[in-house]
């Protein structure tokens, strides 16, 4: 198995979502950044600079491969071509982690480029569990499943989201990727306690934490709504929720995501530094 020796868990330290414009600065001055996450779909071309950069980074940092296009929650069967591309990427990188989302994103051959919401019912649970089983068997590795950011909830849902995630983890053996910003956004939008959500999760199954920025807007009724924009610094209440989580989970790999209005490297590195301090304060 190529590169299998490199396949180890992500360190309980800070990572960032890699952006090509940061390549030189990141290599010269990684600061507190100890690992990197990439969006799988951006590295599914045949060659060129993206793959060359990734080969270089893979020599130096543990890599987390984060898929955004598989659509685990969709009613269509998983796209065999896309699964094959994921396996090819995971085989040559031997990444420390592979993760995807509790969402759907394609229908009838159209890829909609969003993480779309699911009703939390027994039927959805069975379908998503089957898809996770299929992915883990096909890739030959455990995957992590990320909680979504929500703007609507389905009236027919019979499971809470943390219970749904816990049951998926129990049935399939998958780990969880806990996006703290998503919890905060969903809690504000749907009206639940973000702390209670975190406490309801099996934190021993959480193998990675995401942090990102959100944006306050108004919905069509003029009510405040938070948008998971990944285009701003992490908000203070989200940092507080990170502390609340880490105090219960213990140290975990923590990632800063910044995908839109991407700042210069020092700004992103400073966010990573703040996450590193949150992790560091645990051991004192």
């Amino acid at each position: 198995m190529p590169g299998a020796a490199r396949q180890a868990a992500l360190p309980d330290a800070t990572g960032v979502g890699f952006k090509p414009q940061h390549f030189n600065d990141l290599c010269a001055a990684p600061g507190m950044v100890r690992w990197l996450e990439i969006h799988a779909e951006n590295y599914m071309g045949d060659g060129g600079r993206p793959l060359a950069q990734l080969r270089h980074l893979n020599e130096r940092f543990p890599i987390s491969v984060h898929g955004v296009g598989l659509g685990l929650g969709g009613s269509d069967r998983l796209d065999p071509d896309h699964l094959a591309r994921l396996r090819h990427l995971c085989d040559w990188l031997a990444p420390a982690s592979f993760s995807e989302h509790l969402a759907w994103s394609s229908h009838d051959g159209a890829f909609l480029n969003d993480l779309l919401p699911l009703p939390y019912t027994d039927a959805t649970l069975t379908r998503v569990a089957d898809h996770i089983d299929q992915v883990q068997a096909f890739l030959g590795r455990r995957m992590l499943l990320e909680n979504p950011s929500s703007y609507v909830s389905f009236t027919e849902s019979t499971w809470t989201e943390p219970a749904f995630l816990a049951e998926l983890s129990r049935r399939t053996g998958c780990g969880l990727l806990l996006d703290i910003n998503n919890v905060f956004v969903s809690a504000c939008n749907l009206g639940f306690s973000p702390q209670a959500y975190v406490e309801a999760l099996p934190l021993d199954q959480v193998a990675e934490i995401h942090l990102g920025g959100h944006e306050a807007q108004q919905d069509d009724q003029g009510a405040p709504v938070l948008i998971d924009s990944h285009g701003a610094p992490v908000a203070d209440p989200v940092w507080a929720l990170l502390d609340h989580t880490l105090a219960r989970s213990g140290p975990r790999p923590v990632l800063i995501e910044w995908d839109n209005d991407i700042p210069d490297w020092p700004v992103l590195a400073a966010e990573a530094g703040r996450a590193a301090r949150a992790l560091g304060s645990l051991s004192r």
């Binding site: 060129g48 759907w104 609507v152 909830s153 939008n189």
Partner: protein, 245 residues
């Protein structure tokens, strides 16, 4: 879920289509997803067709991108490839009929993107080329790099590309232009081909030996400069193999 997913997917691409009643506790907020779908795909098309976006301006491009994505959403999560049908979509828009070059300029944008992501292939070392028997050159087949692209147009697409990407570039002339894209390292390099050049490269791409490619080039331009074409291909790292039939 499948029938419901169908209606949700349709609503994401067509705001006039109704959402199922009673589905959500806050139905109006599903529009946030529709905004994400449309805004992110418009962004992908604007980024993926930079010269078209510059030619049309942001407002017109975004309007066209919205209509395109609703009619032709991506067929895979690989957005780096999204927009295959956009050149034809532009050509079919009667309001753009006066801008006849748009389709071919969009093909150039698309070809540059594809060249960027094409497979790597080391160029053939010069001494291997030099070692080919001079008396049998006409029988030699050349393998060209996966990143190589050839575009033929009745429009000055290279001039238009250059005028919209380089400062102080000369204004486009009223000429037909064929463009060769090579990728010397990681950045695709478009260059205009001299008369006969496209015939030569097209023949090589079809697997013709050098002698036949030369005949095809001379049929298009009797005075074709083959040495200059070889220089373009070599400097672009575009020759990756050579063999005798």
């Amino acid at each position: 879920m499948s029938a419901r997913e169908e209606r949700l997917a349709r609503n994401l691409l067509d705001p006039a289509s109704a959402l199922p009643e009673g589905l959500f506790d806050r139905p109006g907020r599903f529009a946030i997803h529709r905004n994400t779908v449309t805004a992110s795909l418009i962004e992908a098309l604007c980024t993926g067709f930079p010269v078209i976006t510059r030619l049309l301006g942001d407002g017109v491009m975004k309007d066209l991108a919205l209509r395109f994505l609703r009619a032709h959403p991506p067929s895979s999560p690989l957005l780096m490839l999204y927009g295959e049908g956009f050149p034809e979509f532009l050509e079919a828009d009667t309001r753009l009929a006066d801008l006849g070059y748009l389709g071919d300029v969009a093909r150039l944008d698309l070809a540059l993107r594809h060249a960027y992501h094409a497979a790597d292939a080391p160029p053939l070392p010069a001494q291997q080329l030099a070692a080919l028997p001079p008396d049998r050159l006409a029988e030699v087949h050349l393998d060209l790099a996966p990143a190589l692209r050839l575009l033929r147009s009745p429009w000055p697409i290279f001039d238009i590309w250059r005028f919209n990407t380089e400062t102080n570039a000369p204004a486009p002339r009223a000429v037909a232009q064929d463009v060769l894209i090579t990728r010397p390292a990681y950045d695709p390099l478009p260059q205009p081909l001299p008369p006969g050049g496209a015939g030569f490269v097209a023949a090589l791409l079809q697997g013709a030996p050098l002698g036949e490619a030369e005949d095809r080039a001379r049929a298009e331009a009797a005075d074709v400069d083959l040495a200059a074409l070889f220089t373009l291909l070599l400097q672009g790292g575009a020759i990756i193999g050579a063999s005798l039939t």
